[in-house]
Amino acid sequence: MKIRVNGIEREIEAGTTVESLLNMLEIKVQGIAVDINREIVPKRLFSETILNEGDSIEIVRMVGGG
């Protein structure tokens, strides 16, 4: 099924969780945050939050800024 991650379309298997998506993308949980369809997903729910067809996922981290 299709989802969007940081604006880019991706194909994933049904049942993929936020945690497994992050593993797939080789992104460490430390220092990041995720929201799905503009709703924040707390870190403790990463392993049980299953992605759905058409979901728009944003994965963010900190960068330099003022």
């Binding site: 991650v5 940081n6 604006g7 880019i8 993308l25 080789e26 992104i27 430390q30 220092g31 990041i32 945050a33 995720v34 929201d35 503009r38 924040i40 707390p42 870190k43 944003e58 994965i59 963010v60 981290r61 900190m62 960068v63 330099g64 800024g65 003022g66």
Partner: protein
């Protein structure tokens, strides 16, 4: 004598807060932060780059600093709220420098949207530090809804124009009780000293340091200027007069 100030529940000694953007390198940033004496450093929230597993810039920032995530680049209350929530989740901090911009050219705040976003975030338990105009009425509104500090601009972000309206800053200082942190527009050490001499509780700057030819030296200059300005404020300066008053005794002059 200790001269500390509090934002929300946290107490700070250094009155200079520094941004982490636009340094020539992470190494220079690291040394500049140290030279600035800052305890609070700002960071921005951006998408993880999925193409390469880049190192985190947080690896270059010592754990001793209090991170203040911003909502830079947000033009609506909704985006700013969302960014603040992401920052809280990523950093496990309740601190947020709230920016809601109104215009790309000036980067002036959209105060209506700022107030709306601040209300929501205060209710959600954030310690909100809003970037706003040098407008006393707006500052009062932001204090009234529960912001932990108010951060009026000295001049447009990155402009280096210095304190454009010291009189408004003074009125803001007389109007509200939460700390006033001058944010944006400070170009050189004297600008920082002026803000502190007015009685501001602190200054937040980024470009003034990061954009200098030698950011480390400028960080040190800003550190000294903030301290000098603060001491001058606490000392109570002499009144300005048009004519001279001799500083040596008038009696005992030889004839």
């Amino acid at each position: 004598m200790s001269d500390t100030f509090k934002i929300g529940k946290r107490e700070f000694k250094s009155r200079l807060m520094v941004g982490t953007g636009k340094y020539p390198s992470n190494e220079i940033m690291k040394i500049a932060l140290e030279a600035s004496g800052a305890e609070v450093v700002t960071v921005a929230v951006r998408r993880v780059n999925l193409d390469r597993s880049s190192e985190s810039m947080l690896d270059h920032i010592d754990k001793k600093y209090t991170l203040l995530p911003n909502t830079a680049g947000c033009y609506t209350a909704e985006d700013a709220i969302r960014t603040a929530r992401l920052a809280r989740e990523a950093l496990d901090t309740e601190f947020v420098k709230l920016e809601v911009l109104g215009d790309e050219k000036t980067l002036f705040p959209d105060n209506e949207a700022l107030l709306e976003a601040a209300k929501v975030l205060v209710k959600e338990g954030f310690t909100v530090l809003p970037y706003t105009n040098d407008d006393p009425i707006m500052a009062k509104k932001l204090e009234d809804i529960g912001c932990a500090a108010v951060m009026p601009l000295a001049a447009p972000i990155g402009s280096g124009l210095g304190i454009r309206n010291p009189h408004n800053i003074r009125i803001i200082l007389e109007t509200i009780k939460v700390p006033i942190i001058v944010d944006a527009g400070v170009g050189t050490a004297s600008d920082a000293a002026i803000a502190m001499e007015l009685g501001c509780h602190g200054i937040l700057m980024n470009t003034g340091i990061a954009g200098a030819k030698d950011p480390v030296k400028m960080a040190r200059a800003m550190n000294l200027a903030v301290e000098a300005g603060r001491l001058a404020y606490l000392s109570g300066r002499i009144p300005k007069k048009l004519y001279a008053t001799a500083s040596s005794p008038l009696s005992g002059i030889i004839e």
